[in-house]
């Protein structure tokens, strides 16, 4: 079943724009570096101690899987399950196994964060688009959107999902970390060697490198992009960062993070600018980082109570 999916995606590779390669493979000292761009992020696969043919095959499969997830769950497309759900007018739709698991996770995070993590809050993105925005949206505009936000209003009885009219869901907060973990699982089934998957800062490593060293990862300082502040040694697990290093509004010298409070419609204030979490896998790390940021000034208190390592940047 899985193999067929991959074969179909291989065809896509060939049908795609042949002038621009889907991915590149470079030899570095001691490892292969596969790179591509998916989900609007620079993606890397680092493969330790493999031959070129295997590295090529694994990079191709990683690209295909990441692309598949992007196409299936991107909110910018009109031909996938997200589009179907978001255009459903009072319909109950039955979703597939993979989507069921993702919605279950989103539902769980909604409960565990007391409603702060909410996949229906994506519509606020119309007002807070964070791209060269120089003005804060109006109060009235925000208040108008609030009635359509609130996962508690959706009716989820797996695999059946009923969204109220005008509610839109967005799995962007889980998608990239999910892709990292899925690609990691895919690689683990085919090689016993060490690898590192990095999709725009969401990372998974499976084991230490063949010379015994850990993977060294630099975490960027959000205030001074390009200047890395922190070196982290990863041996096994997921690393994810949540924060405003790449997307933010700056108005009157004040940065507003892209983490929005679904209950108020406004960004979370106080707290660190960026949270990085190192945990068992990328999705777990990402959820802990996001939920931590949603706690605002209590982010560190929250993280201290969890089983993970974390780093905060202000």
């Amino acid at each position: 079943m899985k193999k067929d999916d991959l074969l179909n995606k291989d065809n896509l590779l060939q049908q795609g724009d042949t002038s621009k390669k889907a991915f590149t493979l470079k030899r570095k000292s001691g490892y292969w570096l596969g790179e591509f761009t998916v989900m609007a992020s620079p993606c890397q696969i680092l493969l330790d101690n493999l031959d070129e043919a295997k590295a090529y095959s694994l990079t191709a499969q990683a690209y295909a899987e990441a692309k598949r997830i992007e196409l299936k769950y991107s909110r910018f497309r009109d031909d996938n399950i997200i589009a179907r759900l978001n255009s459903s007018a009072d319909e109950t739709i039955s979703v597939d196994e993979e989507t069921t698991r993702l919605i279950n996770l989103a539902d769980l995070c909604f409960q565990l964060s007391d409603g702060l993590f909410d996949i229906s809050s994506g519509v606020l993105g119309k007002l807070w688009h964070f791209k060269q925005q120089t003005q804060l949206p109006s109060d009235a505009g925000i208040k108008a959107l609030l009635p359509n936000i609130g996962w508690q209003k959706a009716n989820w009885n797996e695999p059946l999902l009923h969204l109220p009219k005008d509610m839109k869901i967005d799995l962007g907060g889980i998608g990239k970390e999910y892709a990292v973990d899925k690609v990691a699982r895919l690689l683990q089934q085919q090689t016993d060697n060490a690898f590192l998957v990095n999709f725009g800062g969401d990372i998974y490593v499976n084991k230490s490198r063949c010379n015994g060293d850990a993977w060294q990862v630099a975490i960027e300082n959000p205030q001074h992009l390009g200047e890395s502040k922190l070196m982290v040694s990863l041996v096994q697990g997921g690393l994810a960062s949540s924060g405003n290093s790449q997307r933010y509004i700056e108005v009157d010298g004040q940065r507003y993070s892209h983490i929005l409070n679904p209950k108020t419609g406004y960004p979370i204030t106080g707290g660190p600018a960026q949270v990085t979490v190192y945990a068992q896998n990328c999705v777990q790390a990402g959820m802990l980082a996001t939920i931590a940021l949603l706690q605002g000034e209590f982010a560190e208190d929250f993280l201290k109570a969890q089983d993970c390592r974390y780093w905060l940047s202000n």
């Binding site: 993702l102 973990d181 699982r185 084991k207 896998n281 939920i291 560190e300 201290k304 109570a305």
Partner: protein, 420 residues
């Protein structure tokens, strides 16, 4: 502005479980629910000098009934042939012994260790074991066992409970087992201490033995690479524990044996053992070192040390090798005698069975494994040497001059496994 912090609950465990489930393939378990896992094994054991040969075949079936329950069924057949020391001591003359059945006799040449070659037996054993996760932290395991050979029937049941602590880093377990064995030897139960030639050397046709076992276990994760296990067990055995086919030579002052009497072991035996095992995953190679030590002692005076070690080395293409080294040493039971002296009163308990004597054994082996049709197949070749020790001064007089009354024994073992 709040000055004090907020308290939060630990949600990372719940998140871990949910996030793991996300990326997992549809069936993450080794066996799909409802299908049987099969484990097949073969053992060939052969001692040097035409002694014991054993052939054993085993089939084990395990079914995962659902997420919490599993059941195992196992069947074993073994065939034993060849000759085994009967307990009499070697002599500088030929010796004649009557077969236990009373039909016929066999002759041992001068200077040879007397071996009884009437061992031809087939044994069938069946067992079942059931496991259930009672709750997130409690595990129950229970089973039954039956073994039947021509002259021996063994029945037993076992039950155990285990509980996890410390985020599943520690597991404590308590188990008990009860066994009821019946022995019905050919020629019936011999009268202990009575001469083999005595017409009144038989007692009843059969006798029984009961065993009660208690096992306390502790498993502890030490770190990411290391796992340890510590067990304490105590066993109480009551009933007939003598070997009805074994005898002792009664030897005169010049070392000549002119009489043989049946052995006798106590009716009661309490055994205890302490067992410590460590499994260590060597990084970055992934080789696994498995070392265990057991100290055993009982109220028959036997105390022993066992060190067992295996080292698994993964090769390319899913092949692996695993060298094996084992060392064992035991001190003799307090009623162990190489032979009895003529003129001395027959002791209440006595045995010349070398397996209760003072001995050291060495095992060296190599296992090689590779996939066949995607399933693991492995073959193991081992050399097993037993050295019996004792006072060489006991080889006295003309009867035993120049003889090795503690003969060593060596055996080759071939094992083969296939799991699918």
């Amino acid at each position: 502005m709040q000055l004090k912090g907020k308290t939060f609950t630990n949600i990372s465990i719940t998140l871990a479980a949910a996030s793991c489930a996300l990326a997992a393939p549809v069936t993450a378990q080794p066996s799909e629910l409802g299908s049987w896992d099969v484990d097949a094994g073969l053992l060939i054991y052969a001692e040097s000098d035409h002694q014991v040969q054993a052939y054993e075949g085993a089939l084990s079936l395990t079914k995962q009934i659902d997420d919490e329950r599993s059941i195992n069924l196992k069947g074993i057949i073994d065939v034993l042939t060849g000759a085994s020391p009967n307990g009499a001591v070697a002599q500088n003359k030929a010796q004649t012994f009557t077969r236990p059945s009373g039909n016929g006799s066999y002759i041992t040449a001068a200077s040879d260790t007397p071996l009884d070659d009437t061992f031809h037996d087939t044994r069938v054993a069946l067992s079942t074991q059931y496991q259930q996760q009672l709750s997130r932290l409690w595990l129950y395991s229970g089973g039954a066992y039956l073994s039947k050979e021509y002259d021996y029937l063994a029945l037993s049941i076992n039950s155990a409970l285990a509980r996890d602590f410390n985020k599943r880093n520690t597991t404590a377990s308590l188990g008990f087992a009860y066994a009821y064995d019946t022995i019905d030897p050919e020629g019936s139960i011999p009268n202990p201490g009575v001469s083999v030639d005595d017409p009144n050397n038989r007692l009843t046709d059969s006798d029984t033995k009961q065993t009660l076992d208690l096992l306390f276990g502790l498993t502890q994760v030490i770190d990411r690479q290391t796992l340890m296990q510590l067990n304490y067990s105590i066993s109480d055995v009551n009933g007939y524990q003598t070997d009805p086919f074994k005898i002792l030579s009664v030897v005169d002052s010049n070392g000549w044996a002119n009489n043989y009497v049946y052995e006798n072991r106590p009716d009661q035996r309490t055994k205890q053992s302490l067992f410590w095992r460590t499994k260590y995953n060597i990084q970055p190679s992934g080789q696994v070192l498995d070392v265990s030590y057991r100290y055993f002692w009982d109220d028959w005076g036997i105390a022993s040390h066992t060190i067992d070690s295996k080292w698994r080395v993964q090769l390319s293409n899913q092949h692996f090798i695993e060298p094996h080294l084992r060392y064992y040493c035991q001190q003799a039971a307090n009623f162990y005698r190489v032979y009895l002296d003529k003129g001395q009163p027959i002791p209440e308990y006595m045995t010349a069975d070398y397996r209760l004597g003072e001995l050291q054994t060495y095992t060296i082996g190599l296992k090689y494994g590779f996939p066949i049709a995607g399933n693991e197949f492995s073959v193991r070749l081992e050399y097993y040497l037993t050295q019996v020790s004792g006072d060489d001064g006991l080889a006295k007089g003309d009867g035993m001059a120049g003889l090795d009354i503690y003969p060593d024994k060596s055996a080759i073992m071939i094992q083969s496994f296939y799991r699918f």
